[in-house]
């Protein structure tokens, strides 16, 4: 099976986010970059399928600035076979639509049997790119999946997802399809030290818009349908209150607060 994994490099979850003075974005200086955690599940799942189906390959595809190479290499160190980075200054300012367009374009000639990705990136939390890529490629899509079974003949995939009330929804899709991973799909492996050393010599290519056959006005800020006007940090949360005393008195005090201060009951 030929498997493609869409991957995005995001700030480490513990990063302290600072906003640029002109509110046009976040300050990227000094940020530690990691693989989007949901994409880690996608990489892991791809590797598990590869281990089961002899002759399979896993290619990691990412769009982003040069530094994204490091994160692609983490995927290669985990065991993926090759990597592709779409890197072009004209891609700056892309929204989900423009991103999906470029990603779809790069995947088209690859003829993947299965495309895996995270259900969303934890930086902008848009959760739109996988669906849009599916549309551009004309593939079925299964989103927010926490269990995936590929049929022995590699023609179909059974995908499970949690729905409200603790129930599971089961989807069956014809392959090729795009499947977006939810937490719980698997436990991603570590990049082993020998794996890290091998990653260096695995095939990796960087492509720009020209090579992709896209024009600058179709992608990046110019091709975007959505423009971010301003970035700001959420208001700081007020500290919680602890109500002391016996349970009965405390409950009474709590109800009073909910009614008079919070005005929610």
């Amino acid at each position: 099976m030929k498997i493609g994994v869409l991957m995005k490099q995001v700030p480490d979850t513990e990063t302290k986010i600072r906003i640029k003075d002109d509110a046009s974005g976040i300050v990227v200086d000094g940020i530690k970059w990691v693989m989007n955690p949901y994409d880690e599940y996608a990489v892991e799942e791809a590797l598990r399928i590869k281990e089961k189906k002899a002759g399979s390959t896993v290619t990691i595809i990412s769009m982003g600035p040069k530094r994204s190479v490091e994160t692609i290499r983490t995927g290669l160190a985990m065991g993926a076979d090759s990597g592709i980075l779409i890197d072009d200054p004209a891609l700056e300012g892309a929204d989900c639509y423009a991103t999906a367009k470029a990603l779809a374009k790069v995947m088209e000639p690859e003829n993947f049997d299965l495309i895996l990705c995270g259900k969303q990136a934890i930086d902008d939390d848009s959760a739109q790119v996988p669906q849009m890529v599916a549309e551009f490629l004309g593939m079925p899509q299964a989103m927010v999946i926490d269990k995936l079974v590929v049929s022995d003949d590699g023609k179909k995939a059974t995908c499970y997802r949690r729905i409200e009330g603790g129930a599971k929804e089961v989807l069956e899709v014809d392959l090729p399809a795009i499947v977006a991973a939810e937490k719980g799909l698997n436990e991603p492996r570590y990049a082993s030290l020998p794996g890290i050393m091998k990653a260096k010599s695995k095939p990796f290519k960087e492509i720009n818009l020209g090579a992709l056959g896209l024009k600058a006005e179709e992608v990046g800020a110019k091709g975007a349908k959505l423009k971010v006007k301003k970035y700001f940090l959420p208001a700081e949360k007020a500290p919680g209150k602890i109500i002391p005393g016996e349970p009965e008195d405390a409950a009474r005090a709590l109800v009073k607060m909910l009614r008079e201060e919070a005005k929610v009951v």
Binding site: K16, G30, E70, R73, T74, A77, Y190, A191, S192, L193, P194, G195, I196, M197, A199, K200
Partner: protein, 596 residues
Amino acid sequence: MAEKQVKIAKGGSFLLEPTGSYRVFTPDDFTEEQKMFSKTASDFLEKEIIPILEKIEHKQPGLVPSLLKKAGELGLLMIDIPKKYDGLGESKATSMLVSEKMARIGSWAVSAGAHTGIGTLPIVYFGNPEQKKRYLPRLATGEILSCYCLTETGSGSDALSLKTKAVLSPDGKHYILNGGKQFITNAGFADLFIVYAKVDGDKFSAFIVEKAGTEGIQIGAEEKKLGLKGSSTCSITFENVKVPKENLLGEIGKGHKIAFNILNIGRFKLGAGAMGPCKVMLAEAIKYGKVRVQFGKPIIDFGMLRRKVADMAIKIYAGESMAYRIAGMMDAGLKSVDEDDVVKQMEIIEEYAIEDSIIKVYGTEVINYVADESLQMFGGYGFTEEYPIERPYRDCRVDRIFEGTNEINRLLIPGTILRRASKGQLPLFEFIARINSELEEKSKSRISKTSGPLAWAVRACELSKRVALYASNLAVQKYALAIQDEQEVMETMANMIIDTYAMDSACARTLQLIEDRGKTKTRVQMDIANVLCQESYDRINLLARNIITAVAGDEAKKHFKNLEKLGTKGRIDSIKIKKEIAAHFVEADGYNLSAS
């Protein structure tokens, strides 16, 4: 940046060469690959060790060995093993960086370190091809786990006086081992023992002893220790233990070479590794200081606590600069050496014995300092097990004792310098002659002309080298060879040299950063270098005066005058600068100056 050539300087030459005169390796220079190794190690600690720390610390049987095997599968135990024997054959800097991450949990770090370091390296460096082939691939994956048996009840620092005896069996096929070992890390579960014993009671030698199928090895009860509670530490008794003749490691009577060289490597790794937990403790203390409110404000806003933050960060910056500088030089030297040319490899490692001891002493004292001050920042809560400093506070205490006590290492520092100088390997006396002629010059000495972006600190560093060597030279003149017995003087000399190396390494790193990134992005590092240099300079001057007073008698006055000529011009406002340093790390929620 990592591609820039670092210079392979001579060991101890930092005392004699101008500060920042050549490129050194620093924690700013890690490669992408090294950062990935480091991340795997931190992730492993975060996900596999920390969640079950309670169980580890209570020595749940079989737990640590199974974790070591898991770490082995990830390649965390094979960094120093040559590729030829299924290892990674990676650099010392990589090995150091991974140790730093592993060191976050003390008992885990010593278990892993005893296996990969003192338990494996004797075979890496001194094993014959047969022994390497037989053991290294399995040590690399953790399939077999190792320990190092040197210390005995009667021989600790005086390792050469050990009593364990080896005698060749009448049929000439085995050595028969008899004796007892003390404080052996990993003894409780190790499959392999590197045992030092004297052949026929007088020829110091080393043996590889396999536990499986060997009779007469008795493991004692687990020691009840102050810290490192999760690691196995037992005594071992060897009673008529038959060791195949092929398992003699190295040559008969040359075991001391193995013991001391392996300890040298252990030393710099321990000192460097100590920086890992220091960074964690500093971050914990800052985070706590931000949420703990007293007198109506977070305690991190009080000046005395900020001063603590600054001092901890300064010492960490110096400590890691000192350690990686040497790792970089060893790696640059080792790169051109054949994997099998162990003699040459040992020569390169041994070259930095002085710095190894310095890094051991400095690093282990910094971690004890940081543990103490960060615990203090937690106040009463810091004293409880529920808060994060109590454990590392106990765990780090032994750092000053094992891998050569800090006392032994302090003796080694001036001792080795003097030995090399007298053999003509280090132009120490030429430099001292130059200091004297500089002092005689009417005009201010050459060094007063220091210029450049970090001129003040660099000058303080240059002056410190001169002050330290000027005073040390007087002591050497007075005692000659008998100086070895003047331990208080030797200790004072060691302290001056350690401070000098700290200043020199911090300045060299900061100068490089200024060159690579410019001054505006190196503000906090420059502040650190300045404060560190002023405080070290002051301390060195005081120590130099103590030596002069002790050795110069009536001439002391003259020498004090000379020290004045080596005085710094002006002072920096260390209170103010430390406020700025603290503000940086408080804002960053911890130490953020290394690139991993």
